[in-house]
Amino acid sequence: MIRQIFAFIRKDFLVEKSYKVSFALGAVSTVTGMAVFYFVDKLFGRSFSPYLAEYGSGYFAYVFAASAFFGYIGTGAGSYSEKLRAEQLQGTLEAALSSPVRPAVFLTALTAWNFAFATFELALYALAGVLVFKLDFGAANLPALAAVALLSAASFAALGIFSSCFVLLFKRGNPAAWVLNNFEGLLGGVYFPVAVLPLWLGWISKLLPISYAIRAMQLALYKGAGFTELRTELLALFAFSCVLLPLSVKAFSLALEKARRDGTLGQY
């Protein structure tokens, strides 16, 4: 299993490296992303908002951490369908799935490179936060942050796997990706705390793992909240992961079986 996952990571790295301009632009976009934060910082400074009082951070610190974290866990939501579609278009999906590799291992391997790169990006953001923007992460509770990141990534990966089932069956037209792209940022508290939303939208946001993920991350990062303080968020993320992850892998296996029965696995 480890060999299969590393084979995908190496293959994806070699493919990415072969597109030299795209590879360079990817690195540049990390820097431009940080430049956006620099100007947000200039505009808002370290001003506090009453909505942010519970997190103990200003708007800049809030949006910086939330965006970086959202970018990281969003890898799970977006990468599965994106990578699956790329394999379809290259004509390699059927060949890769004709090897004795189990669906769960295939799914892990498929996005392993994306997660590795996203982790590297997250580390860069954290470094820039401290060195360039002088943010104070001194209170961070690292074990709690790690647990939040793990459970959030698992919940988002499940959503991404559901989304990839549409790609497997319909090739183009992915309603799951549309919902994820359009509503997670709006309702999840990435750019502003969920408390700003009207009450009814606030209730809808409680149905999304992102709301719990962002809130728990902010509290662990800036207030040093631990497992006890974060138990509601961690339990919610744990429940999302426990329910959604096996369901999504099962859905993917069924979609794969249907594609094999219809003979459409090699189509795009």
Binding site: Q90, S99, P100, R260, R261
Partner: protein, 244 residues
């Protein structure tokens, strides 16, 4: 007996996502195919275009699920996962390779998916590229820079290197020059190369089938129309009615 297929039927239906489709409305690619393959044997498969040869190979490779019928592997019912584990299919040209990777990187990647290390792949592939007429430089070329013949040889190399128990070859000599086709044919007959694999060999050349195969199955409209043991070239041509 390594593999036994009983009454395999595959219909490609015209259907929507939620409609199961009408069998009468679709294309019956395989219609109750029954066959068995012994370890170490080379069985030819011939038939006109559209007779169901590729569909049969894809079903036996576990890439396509049949609508009915059973497949036994070592006398036990086998599903897609067991078949994918046991078999390797060498298909047309450059299908199923990463164009941005070199031939070697492709071979290593697919070897790793089968659980083989780079060293194991190198050991398994050591003599094969030269025997197939590949140059060392071909292996280090990006896949999309290879000629059609070289891409075909890489496809064969990938299948051989897995040392599968069931080797499925779909017109493997297509696109090869005469010398490479002859080299492949002699390679296939070497037990050291194919091991104890049962080989199912789709080919349109009756002479090559007669030379290489102890038995040839003729497929017509999705059914096994004839089974020829130790056939001569003319027997195969006749059984195919001129459409091999």
């Amino acid at each position: 007996m390594l593999i036994e297929a009983r009454g395999i039927t595959k219909i490609f239906r015209r259907r929507g996502f939620f409609r199961s489709g009408d069998a009468a409305d679709g294309t019956r690619a395989l219609d109750g195919v029954t066959l068995s393959l012994e370890p170490g044997s080379i069985t030819g498969l011939a038939g006109a275009n559209g007779s169901g040869k590729t569909t049969l190979l894809r079903v036996l490779a576990g890439r396509l699920l049949p609508d009915s019928g059973t497949i036994l592997l070592d006398d036990r019912p086998a599903g897609g996962a067991e078949l994918r584990s046991a078999g390797a299919l060498a298909e047309a040209g450059g299908a199923g390779f990463y164009s941005r990777l070199t031939a070697r990187e492709n071979i290593e990647f697919f070897g790793a998916l089968s659980g083989l290390s780079r060293a194991e792949m190198e050991e398994r592939c050591a003599a094969l590229p030269v025997r197939l007429g590949l140059r060392e430089t071909d292996l280090d070329k990006r896949f999309d820079a290879l000629s059609e013949g070289a891409a075909r040889k890489i496809s064969l190399l990938r299948a051989f290197a897995r040392r599968p128990r069931l080797l499925l070859l779909d017109e493997p000599a297509n696109g090869l020059d005469a010398r490479s086709a002859a080299a492949f044919s002699s390679l296939l007959k070497e037990p050291a190369v194919r091991g104890r694999a049962a080989v199912l060999y789709v080919c349109h050349d009756p002479a090559e089938l007669a030379r290489s195969c102890g038995r040839v199955l003729i497929l017509r409209e999705g059914r096994i129309a004839a089974e020829l043991n130790g056939p001569a070239e003319k027997d195969i041509a006749e059984a195919c009615g001129g459409a091999t």
